[in-house]
Symmetry: C2
Subunit: 440 residues, 2 copies
């Protein structure tokens, strides 16, 4: 591959890298299900994860608390200082790996440790946030932790129930927290920036032999279900052509087009992931074909054009076979751009820290940064996922990549510290935004 940069080889790992990885593994042992890593929102094992992180945070002199949404929060510096947030999530899917989410929190603590060990103090405080919920497992809705941080955990969400009929509010109480204190979970007005480290959860960095990627946007998503309705007929006695109304054949033509169009549209990913033919049988022409459609792009316009094309194509492929179409949209989520200033700063920090230029990429998956960006200028740094693997017990990270991320984080803080004009502008912007929000 042209311009490939073998980055991991250039980075020497250190004791702090080994400690970060060991901490992730230690947190992975906090599980609701012995023998695997399953740690859902406000479950018993989350107490143990909090206890470990609290210990590490306190050891470096941070003030630690758990907000009413179950987010673990540690402050390094004074409460009234401008505050830089570093966070990610502590919950996992069922039978998860050890790094998805957790690594970003552990790296936040490690950065505080670096700062504490350094001679020069920072002109801002650092708050490390371990979000209580991002995966959406327990209440079939993701981002509960970061939604609380931005003050958007609404009544409808609090009224949701898990599979045991426990409401979010009750889960909060069972965990020992008070849902009436949720307003106090909203991030401090003094916060001015959010930074998140996360594993890529995809194969791109690895395929390009890169350790890190600076995220410039989180892709928007459309999720739909398309229902092709044809007519069941005998597979043997119904000749080919106009006497068939084959829902499956129509849908197959459409699936091919979903792939073909996405292949030719830069940055677009489009996937038909799950299909079914209902009560179909091998010797019966399919009367129905239900298919999911997942379309993502960092630019909403490109995504919308793609979705419109796909729907039109599905109609056409259906009409050619007397097959009708009904489509429902489950999700239409706009893209979330990361803050341009921060993304540039992070790229420069990455170059300075590792000697290699920053690779900028969009995130095809949602992250807490997507929610926090509603309130704070945000940026993300991806670490390569070996084998592209995530949401799997074998999910891992390369020590060299963790070291590179740490170095990039240290450099990012240093540049913020040293570039007082940029820092002042970011703080002023955040303050102006707060004022504007209050008047809105």
């Amino acid at each position: 591959m042209k311009g490939m940069v073998e980055e991991s080889a250039t980075v020497q790992t250190t004791g702090r890298t080994a400690r970060c990885i060991a901490r992730c593994r230690e947190l992975a042992a906090c599980t609701d299900v012995p023998g695997e890593t399953t740690r859902t929102f406000l479950s018993p094992s989350m107490h143990r994860a909090h206890a470990l992180l609290t210990e590490w945070m306190c050891a470096v002199g941070m003030t630690v608390w758990v907000d009413a949404a179950g987010n673990l929060r540690g402050l390094f510096g004074t409460a009234d200082a401008p505050r830089l947030l570093i966070g990610s999530h502590l919950d996992t899917i069922a039978n998860a790996g050890a790094f998805d989410g957790v690594l970003g929190v552990v790296l936040g603590v490690a950065l505080v440790e670096e700062v504490a060990a350094a001679s020069a103090a920072l002109p801002f405080a650092i708050e490390v946030v371990g979000f209580s919920e991002e995966e959406g497992v327990r209440f079939a809705k993701p981002f509960l932790g970061s939604l609380a941080l931005v003050g958007e955990l609404d009544a409808a969400t609090l009224a949701r129930t898990d599979r045991n009929g426990v409401r979010v509010e009750a889960a909060i109480r069972e965990f020992g927290l008070d849902p009436t204190e949720l307003p106090a979970a909203v991030v401090s007005d003094s916060a001015f920036v959010y930074l998140e480290f996360h594993i890529e959860q995809g194969p791109v960095l690895e395929s390009e032999a890169r350790a890190l990627g600076v995220v410039d946007a989180i892709a928007g998503q459309t999720r739909m279900t398309l229902d092709f309705i044809g007519q069941a007929n005998h597979a043997g006695t119904t000749p080919m052509g106009h006497l068939r109304r084959d829902a499956l054949a129509a849908a197959a033509q459409w699936v091919v087009e979903v792939e073909r169009y996405a292949n030719e549209c830069d940055g677009l990913v489009a996937t038909v992931g799950k299909v079914e033919t209902g009560t179909g049988a091998g010797n019966v022409i399919a009367a129905e074909f239900i298919a999911t459609l997942d379309v993502r792009h960092a630019r909403d316009e490109a995504r919308k054009v793609a979705v419109a094309h796909y729907l039109e194509y599905a109609e056409t492929a259906g009409a050619a076979r007397g097959v009708s179409l009904s489509a429902t949209t489950q999700l239409d989520q706009p893209a979330v751009p990361m803050d341009a200033t921060l993304t540039e700063l992070l790229g420069e920090a990455k170059l300075r820290a590792t000697g290699g230029p920053a690779h900028t990429m969009s995130s095809g998956a949602g992250h807490d940064a997507m929610i926090v960006a509603r309130r704070l200028p945000s940026t993300m740094l991806f670490l390569r996922s070996p084998g592209g693997l995530s949401h799997h017990p074998d999910e891992t990270v390369l020590p060299g990549d963790v070291e590179a991320a740490l170095k990039t984080g240290v450099e990012f803080l240093r540049r913020l510290r040293d570039d007082s004009a940029t820092l002042a502008r970011l703080i002023a912007n955040a303050s102006a935004r707060r004022k504007k929000e209050r008047h809105a």
Copy 2:
């Protein structure tokens, strides 16, 4: 449509047609499940169907018996005369229509009534057979009745069990028959021809505005399952192209080719009727796609070439995406040509009876004639299926078409009677075949 022939309008229906249809409806009331027509192999309601047919057969002077396989058999004429068989099946699928199978038996009785009413005797006997089993519902294997008639009901089949664990042998005993007498169920050596009337169970005749079709072959069938194996990956974080191993996209390209190739290959029908993506999810690239394939053609060579092409194409579509393929064949059943002499004779009879030329077609579905043809020269006449509907309570026939079929049957018998050279040749051929079989 060019050359369309509106046939039904040219045929005046008569009392005998109304009686045939009424008899089918009366038989449809013999059911194991009140409120619908469900009459499986050797079930209690089959006794009632036998009783009705026996009454009609005896009334016209036929000798009636039930063989050890549960086939109802009625002989008109002397036992030692050359014997022409007319038959179809008396069992049904669950919640069936009133004509599939039954109509062929009722028309056989009606033809005997015509012969009995006519002044001139025939130089051969007529045996009407109501096969006990064709649909394969009770023992998940079709054609048990006709297999007994040709002496191919083997030990493995007799050992099969239904969903209640009842073996075929026990079912025979429960019905009041003796399985040790199965050898006597084999058709008489004096039989020389088999004729079957059946509804088309497809839309072809209706689409061409034809009442009847002469069947020249029963299509061969291949039934397979194709398993496309790709790799599950995140639909959002895995870019299009070589990092995806999308089993569903590969399979979709293949499904499109299955249809395209069949559209261009005269007489071929190919259907992917049932598919599944296993544990797939909308936001995960499909790791697996399992699809059925059903391919039929009246010429085995054309079917084999098609199947080979489909497998090769599936491999290619998979290889382009890193998707592997495993295929298993469930059925590879050769085509069964109908007897050319009889088919021609039936076509001439049809022309004489209705004034319209015979439309020759192959049958995409299996029929008892396919089994009986192993032993006797056989031919079939299809009656148009309004709406292409069968295996459905709304399945029906047009009275004009039934009348046309009856007239064609009468004319067929008359031509056999009058064309003594052809009759003698058919009888001699059958006799020679018996001898050859005994020496084999």
